[in-house]
Amino acid sequence: MSAAREQIISGIRKALGRGPLDETGLAPIRQRLKGHSRHIIPARVNLDAEGLVELFISKARGVSATVEAVADMAAVPQAVARYLTQENLPARLVQAPGLADMDWSLAPTIAARSGLAEEPDEVGLTPAVAGVAETGTLLLTSGPETPTTLNFVPPTHIVVLRRDQIVGAYEDAWDRLRVNTLLAGRQPRAANFITGPSRTGDIEQKIQIGVHGPLRLHIVIVEC
């Protein structure tokens, strides 16, 4: 225990005019930490599942992400191939090991590798934990199956999102992560809420899309 720590903690108590909190004082704090009670949730997410998907799509498009829906997982490889062709991008990608089931024989032009992203990888393909309709935000987490570099290193990021992963508020998305954490016994190292491709307003306040993170964010929604 460092002297700095001691002094800061005792300085805080002195400033607040009290000693350490006793059990009675700590009880409401413990309750708050365990209770996960929510504050005001925007009424805009009071929608049925259909409405949330629509809201998610329009919000994501509003922040310059592109979105398309496909019928099932088997349709994803071709959708990805179409997207790469249409954007004039090379037919090579790195995918999250968690997407190992993806059947690339359905899109034979694509060369797919599994693993983390490095320079000069051009396209990263990942799953997501949730899509947040409130602002068209994706929640992705790190893990052996989902390296974080895939979300940030390649200039193009394609995300596969199941329709039933779309929720209303950030809190709903975090609750899904909490379930995963309980199952895994540990919170993932990184949880990334991603809302559109990277941007900056640092040059004369004009928005430039594509800085250090991806220039393109493409979301493929899988219906079932």
């Binding site: 800061i8 704090i29 708050r32 925007p42 090991p97 893990g143 390296p147 570099t149 949880a191 307003g201």
Partner: protein
Amino acid sequence: MKHHPTSAKFPSNARTALADPVLQGALRNLKKGFPVKRAEVVADLPEFEALRDVARDIKDHTLNHLDAYLEIYEANVVRSGGQVHWARTAEEACETVMTICRDAGARIVTKGKSMVAEEIGLNAYLDTRGIERVETDLGEYIIQLRDEPPSHIIVPAVHVTKEQIGETFRAAHNGLDPNRDLSEAREITDEARDRLRQKFFAAEVGITGANFLVAENGSSIIVTNEGNGDLTQTLAKVHIVIASLEKLVPTMEDAMAVLRLLARSSTGQEFSVYTTVSNGPRRPADLDGPESYHVVLVDNGRTAMLGTENQEMLRCIRCAACMNHCPVYSAVGGHAYGWVYPGPMGAVLTPSLIGIENSGHLPHASTFCGQCEQVCPMKIPLTKMMRYYRNQAYASGHGSKISRIALGMWSYLATHPGLYRRVMKIVARGLRWFSGRRGSLSHVPLAGGWTEMRDLPAPEGETFMERYRRERGWGPGQ
């Protein structure tokens, strides 16, 4: 280079700023940008006003139990495999960061934007100890190359034009075609991306700030748009988070409530592109992420603000809404304030941190129009706090002799109602007489600065009290 505070020279800094046409152009841009976008997204969230109360209460609750939450936070960081270092002062914080860098054998250190790092002078500290420090936020990178301090807490290079950035890059980036096109933001951004890419991969240590520390799970949260903060922390071997004590919130739900206000208030976005929750070092089976995770908790004057008139300033989330809406900031820009924090929040925080004796002008750098308070997502009573510091400045003998004498006379007059009414009668009649038929005055003694730009409408000759008495038939005596 170390940037020393020049807050004591605010009047001359401000005059220089007002005469700088490039800066004035940039500030006009700023006024047309953020406030307009903020108004749009706030109108689009009917819950915004209610959320301001929620956010204020979250921070007040946390500050009033800060010792307990810090202990819980620390225990949870340790549980996640990270380390917490406590620093009382700027010097201690810099030393701690340097020690971690040395232990990691760091030569190159990438760094995301952090206001507390500016506050403690971390940049100069690392630069003078053999570390190649690379700022990775585009705005911070630009001002690092130009060796300037930030002029805004969100867009640090807001005072620099596209042309100037092009010249700066040409001078700094060796090995590229000297005649390459850098006339547009696109080319500039791409060149910065290429340059910094190499650094992200080469850095041994990545330093980021924190927008929130979460007690519940020992996580730190950063909010960025460029993705630089994520590359900084994911690619380096060691991730250092530097954060001041008041960044703490109890739960993720608390952080999310405040996050709904942050980007909207700041850049007028509904949500920033990247909100990243970091929790300890990489897990055993992870393919990427830092091998160690350190948090440097910085006090540097925070505990001294707790339990005082200044405690409410500790709610500040550094969104910059106050400066984006401030007529004084919009006229003089950030550098005039002379230290790290400009605008209304700086006018309160700077005296709290470096002393009113070094910043006596700042609480006066306000028209008290109150816009800052109206837009502050954390409901900080900025004008009340500036008024407090004006009193402090006066009490500590700050200000010119004439203004001090005038204030002294005024306070005597204002606290003696009988005398006040008699003097006002004379003044009102006098001004009426001097103004003649025009009904206004183009010059008033001791108020030359005011009448230089406009005329003073003269009183009608009767004071308010006299008129009240005449019309109602009663009132305070003469």
